[in-house]
Symmetry: C2
Subunit: 346 residues, 2 copies
Amino acid sequence: MIEDKNQSKTDLGQLGEFGLIDHLTKHFEIKNKSSITGIGDDAAVLDFDKKQVVVSTDMLVEGVHFDLAYMPLKHLGYKAVMVNLSDIYAMNAKATQITVSLAVSNRFPLEALEALYAGIETAAKIYNVDVIGGDTTSSTTGLILSVTAIGEVDSKDVVYRKGAKPNDLIVVTGDLGGAYMGLQVLEREKEVFKVNPQSQPDLEPYTYIIERQLKPEARKDVIELFKSLDVKPTSMIDLSDGLSSETMHLCKQSNVGCELYENKIPLDPQVISTCEEFDIDSTTIALNGGEDYELLFTIDQGDYPKIKGNPNFTVVGFIKEKEAGMQLITRGGTSIELKAQGWNSF
Amino acid sequence: MIEDKNQSKTDLGQLGEFGLIDHLTKHFEIKNKSSITGIGDDAAVLDFDKKQVVVSTDMLVEGVHFDLAYMPLKHLGYKAVMVNLSDIYAMNAKATQITVSLAVSNRFPLEALEALYAGIETAAKIYNVDVIGGDTTSSTTGLILSVTAIGEVDSKDVVYRKGAKPNDLIVVTGDLGGAYMGLQVLEREKEVFKVNPQSQPDLEPYTYIIERQLKPEARKDVIELFKSLDVKPTSMIDLSDGLSSETMHLCKQSNVGCELYENKIPLDPQVISTCEEFDIDSTTIALNGGEDYELLFTIDQGDYPKIKGNPNFTVVGFIKEKEAGMQLITRGGTSIELKAQGWNSF
C-alpha cells in the first residue's frame, strides 16, 4: 500500500556488521548532560549525578506487533521509540537515553534500515533522548526490534503502580481506542488491496485513528505538565493495553478496588464513528484496545483543583477499598466486573 | 544430541504473556544496593549514587548466533548473560543489572523457557547481577534473545577503548581460540549425528574447548584483580571477535599502531591439538576466532611489575606510533599487517 517499489537497493552484506552500525548511527548526536559517551565502545557511559535511573525494555516482532504491509519503516522506528519512552514517562521520569537492537533478514536492503533509523532519529530528536548503543544482526526471517529506554528522576518524584489509595481519582490522558480502530481500518484496507491492487483507499475519514496506530506519541508533555501543575500522581501506568487491564494492574499492585464510569471514558468522534461503521461497541474498544500510549494515573482528591478543566485529563473513576472489587459502572447504572482482555501475543 | 526428547511440554498460550513473565521471573531476587525495584512496574528504578553507569546491549538470534542442536537452552541463557557482562567488564565496571527480552515461537514449550531462564538465573547469581526487567513475546519462527547489561563504576576508573599510548603493553587474559574450536567440534558432531543418530560421540578430548563455546565466563575476576593489583588499563575491549579485529579497534580508537607477537599468543593445549586434528593454523584461530570473552587491554610499561608472573595475563605485544601500522610479528620474524576477519552475521 504505502511501500515505494522503485527505491534503490543496497545489499546489507556489502557493509558488514560494523559498517552497518556505523552507517546507521553516524548522524546521532549526544545531547543529554547524563550521556558521557554513546555508541562506539564496549558500553555507553552515563552519569546521573544524584538522580535515580529508570530502565524499561520492549521487543517488537514483525508479524506479531507490526505488519510492514501498512507500517512504513520510518513510522515503525518512531513507534518503537515511543512504546519504550511511554514506560519511562509512566514512572514520572524524564527519558534520556535509548539503545536499539535490530535483527533483520537480508531481504531488507540498506535503504529500508535507513528509513527505520530515520524514524528512530526523528523520535530521539523530538523527545530529546540520546541513542547510546545497540546491536545490529541478521535474522533468519523477519525484522525484530528491541529497544531499552533509560530515564532519570529525583527519588522523591518516582511514581509506581502501587501507590493508589481509596478515594483517589482515576484519570486518563488524551482519548482511548483510536490506535486499535486505526489498526482495524488498516487491516481492512490491506484485504481490499489484496483483492484489487489498483484500489485507491479513501483514508480521509480515518486520519486521526490511523495516526494513533502508525505514529503514536508518548506523553512527555504530561510529565512536564505534572511538574508545572505541582501534581504528583499516587500511582501511574501507561496504556499499552486497554484501560481495563491497566486499571486492574494499578488496583492489584496498590491492593485496592475501583469504579470506572463508562460515560466518562474519553473517545474521539472518529473512534465513535468508526466503531459504528464496524459495528463494534466503543466502550469495549476503549477498555480492551491497546497501543494508545496514554497515561493512566491516580491522584489524591485534594489535587483535583490542579487538573480540573485541563483538556489533557479526564477523570474516569474512583479508587475504592479492595473489597469493592474492580467495577465498570455502565451508562445504565449497572455494575460489571472489569476483565483483562489485554494483548497476548501467544 | 543433548536435547532430552522425553521432557514434559506445556503450551505457552496457556499462560499468556503476563503469566509467562511472572512465571519465569518469580524466583529472581534483587540483591544489588543500586537496584531499588526490579520487574513488576513500567520500568525498574535504580540508584547509582555518585557512580557512573555503563550500558551495553546484545542480541542473539537462533540460526545465526546459536544452534539449538548442540546448545542446551540453559547454557544459552547463561551465555547470553556472559556476552553482555563481558562488555561491562571491558569498561572496568562492576555489572549490576540486566534486562532480558525474548521472542519465542510457540514450538517452544514452557519447560524450554524455564531451562533458558534457569541459565539466566544461574549466571545472575554467580555474577551478582539483578534481572530487573524484560519482555517476552512470540516470534513467527525461532528464538531471539536481547539482553541489556548495566554496570557501575567510579568516573575515575572507567577504561575506554581509546586510551592506548605508544610503548604501552598489549595484554590478554586467559587463552584464545578455544570457543571457536569448540564450535568446530560441535558442528562436526552434528553432521555425524545427522548421518548416524545412534553414534555416541567421544567428546572427552574436547571438554575444555566445548565448555569455552557453550559456557563461557566473563572476566569479572579480572576487574576485581585490577583493583587489588592497583592497575588501571589505559584502554580495554572484550574479545568477542578475534584478537586481530579487537586489537585493530583499540588501535584505531586510540590513534596508534601496534606489534603483536605470534609466539606470545596464549593457546590451550586442547586448542593446539584440535587445530592439528582439523588441519587449521592455531594462530589464525586465535587471531580470527571469536567468542572467547577474554579481555584485551593495554597498560603503561610502569605497571608491568604489577602483572608480571600473574597466570591470568599474557603480554602479547606493544603499542607503537600510528605510522608503524598494525603488525603481527610471526615466529619467523616476518611482519604481517593485521586484518579484521571478525564476525559478520550478514
